[in-house]
Symmetry: C2
Subunit: 424 residues, 2 copies
């Protein structure tokens, strides 16, 4: 038989587990947090759990938190630079230009402000939040072999090209918006999903080094060099800032194809003025890798679509259970204490028993989720299949179709809704 290839470039093997962990990480709070509440953000949780604070990348000690917006209840990521003093209002205003950049490989920058809430003068950048993301340094710097020793793990070439394609796509959007990335330090590029990376500290240097007023063209040309250094660091597993470029490029050539090495070498070599590099030229040069990464993303969409189709019934059944829950055992309705026991509701009560309170021949509970889901699915579809419902005293039985039961749910729920004080 024909075995289809697996396409897991952008898809984690255990997608559900992964999403579950992310959902938990998103909800997680710190019970006795000492962190302040800011004007528009509350429930801060530190993401930056290594307690070494280096000030190398931005010139200020940095902190990263997740926080809930008081405006819309959503989670954001806050990057705090400690001890920053704003001297020029325009510096912080430059951040709003970043709102024009909307790219799947750039962490969107939402806002920036200063605050004294931490007891100092801090600068805060608000960005999108990606639960359980890791920096490229965290993800790639070392791994542990089966003897428990930490050894550098070689990144597969396909993954490196995937990174190159994504960063190139990010730079294209950034340059098109008349901006420059400026910071592509591997500790500021985050891995948010399998093989998915995003530039994580855009706009920070625009504010912090605002006064230098360096020309955009110069900064954009420098982005190519940052780009080359980033790939070099990941490809050689060397995240030290004092890397000797020529040696590192040679080393890259020993592990990877000449094409990869030459691509990185091209990025690292400044154009001879008056010539300038353009990201379009770069993209055109890597179009073969671009198209195969594109195809991987289409395959990822396809597998996600089938996962989603499989899960879609959850939402429907949940709504149906909520309706049944609102009807069954309701203590009273319009002064009638027996509302939930009368008429069609009595049938729905027996149906509830049939779904949830099955017992086997010995009277032991049958706890079979599959039975529950099967019954609810049939009810939701309102099919013509018959079901036999028995009263609790076993004196009476009714044979009804799921179609009739569905009508009864709809009728009973409509009755509850009658003077429409709320809605589903």
């Amino acid at each position: 038989a024909y075995q289809r290839l697996t396409h897991d470039f952008f898809m984690p093997e255990k997608l559900r587990e992964e999403l579950q962990k992310k959902a938990e990480a998103t909800l997680q709070v710190m019970p006795n947090s000492q962190l302040p509440t800011l004007d528009n953000f509350h429930t801060l949780v530190a993401l930056d759990t290594s307690h070494q604070k280096s000030a190398t990348v931005f010139g200020f000690p940095g902190w990263v938190y997740k926080a809930t917006s008081s405006k819309n209840g959503k989670m954001y990521c806050l990057r705090r630079l400690e001890g920053y003093r704003l001297t020029n209002e325009n510096a912080i205003r430059s951040v709003k230009d970043w709102r024009r950049v909307d790219n799947g490989s750039v962490v969107s920058v939402i806002d920036a402000f200063t605050t004294r809430a931490f007891g100092d003068s801090s600068l805060i950048f608000v960005t999108d939040y990606f639960p359980l993301s890791k920096t490229l340094v965290e993800h790639h710097s070392t791994s542990t072999n089966r003897f428990g020793n930490r050894v550098p793990a070689a990144v597969p070439e396909k993954v490196l090209w995937g990174y190159i394609v994504q960063i190139a796509s990010a730079i294209k959007s950034v340059h098109a918006a008349n901006l420059a990335v400026r910071c592509m330090d591997p500790s500021k590029v985050i891995l948010t999903d399998k093989s998915r990376i995003r530039l994580g500290a855009c706009s920070v240097l625009d504010v912090v080094q605002y006064d230098a007023q360096r020309p955009l063209a110069e900064l954009q040309q420098e982005d190519f060099i940052h780009f080359g250094k980033l790939i070099l660091a990941v490809g050689t597993n060397n995240f030290s800032p004092n890397i000797v470029l020529k040696n590192a490029v040679d080393q890259l050539g020993r592990t990877y194809t000449a094409e990869l090495r030459d691509t990185v070498a091209w990025l690292l070599t400044p154009a001879q003025a008056p010539a300038v590099k353009s990201i379009d030229d770069f993209l055109s040069g890597i179009s073969g890798h671009l198209v195969s990464t594109f195809d991987s993303s289409l395959h990822a969409i396809d597998s996600q679509t089938s996962e989603l189709s499989r899960e879609l019934e959850n939402g429907r059944l949940l709504r149906l259970m909520a309706k049944l829950g609102a009807i069954n055992e309701r203590p009273e309705y319009e002064g009638d204490r027996n509302w939930s026991e009368n008429g069609e509701r009595y049938m729905l009560k027996l149906f509830r028993d049939y779904v949830f309170h099955q017992v086997d021949a010995d009277g032991r509970p049958v706890l079979d989720l599959a039975h529950i889901l099967r019954c609810l699915n049939k009810l939701d579809a309102g099919i013509d299949e018959k079901v036999c419902l028995t009263s609790r005293d076993e004196q009476t039985s009714f044979v009804v179709t799921y179609r009739e039961l569905k009508k009864q749910v709809t009728a009973a729920f409509a009755e509850l809704q009658k003077p429409a004080k709320g809605r589903y």
Copy 2:
């Protein structure tokens, strides 16, 4: 406030509805079907509902069915050519080369065989099945304006570039496997999702025109011309086979950018021998569009991921509701008719009332799904938030945390499971 752009290039607005309809279409059967059962396929359903049978594209009248494989129970698409007689066994064997092509913009070819089950001698191609897909002719040929008149609808340029990128990606994979597409007729390219297209009749001409033994290089060069004609047909809304290419290209130039027109013109112009065209050159020339289509696909992955997370949450809450359902109002347990009213179960009964039987100040039911989901989410997470539960006679109140309630659900459910007759 900052309004994020919407990225719906690859994502239908009503994703759930769309997936639901596709699931239904997949399951749909024909009650009194006259269609035969084949050796390995049963429950054939015709997809080809227009009853005009033209034999223009392949030289044989064609039919398209969905069918269930008897081997693995999965759905496939069968394309039948009526009246085809196999003269050379090698012709049909050529299909197996297509198994090497695994591309998100090509309908995968699984197998081919001949059969007499339809009462004639038919050739059958087995491919992947995409529910509710439409050919580009069906999708683009005409639309109906608000006066009920059918008018050609201009395809947005972005969509056309998206098609160009996908077809180029498909050709790249096909040529890399030493094959040629050969048939890119707009009636054989299918739209399977929003803006997602796939080459739908690969391998057919390899079999049907096997005897001609045309050189691969020639067929591959011809693919560029087929490609150009396909885009021209969609872009000018003219699906007639007798289109005058030069006029149509001019017309394209009046609706779209010069870049698009020139791209199509390039495709339509054969290379001057000994020069040959390569798909790599083409891809490199359209890399700007390639990268933006790639970014759209990443955005689609991101929105799908959040949809999927939401559905997984529904799944968790569904399981939790099923547990609560098994506990609450259980008529008796181990001979104890009050089991569900005693101890921790009493608290869970009050909690059930709190979740489902809220009433407003006037005693009217509050039917707020958001409230129900919020409560269940908190219960599922077992957070430290407190909730005040009141007895039905309003004489007693208890303050408990969701954490305690979660413990109680777990304990009560474990008790029901004690002699483990079934499992969740």
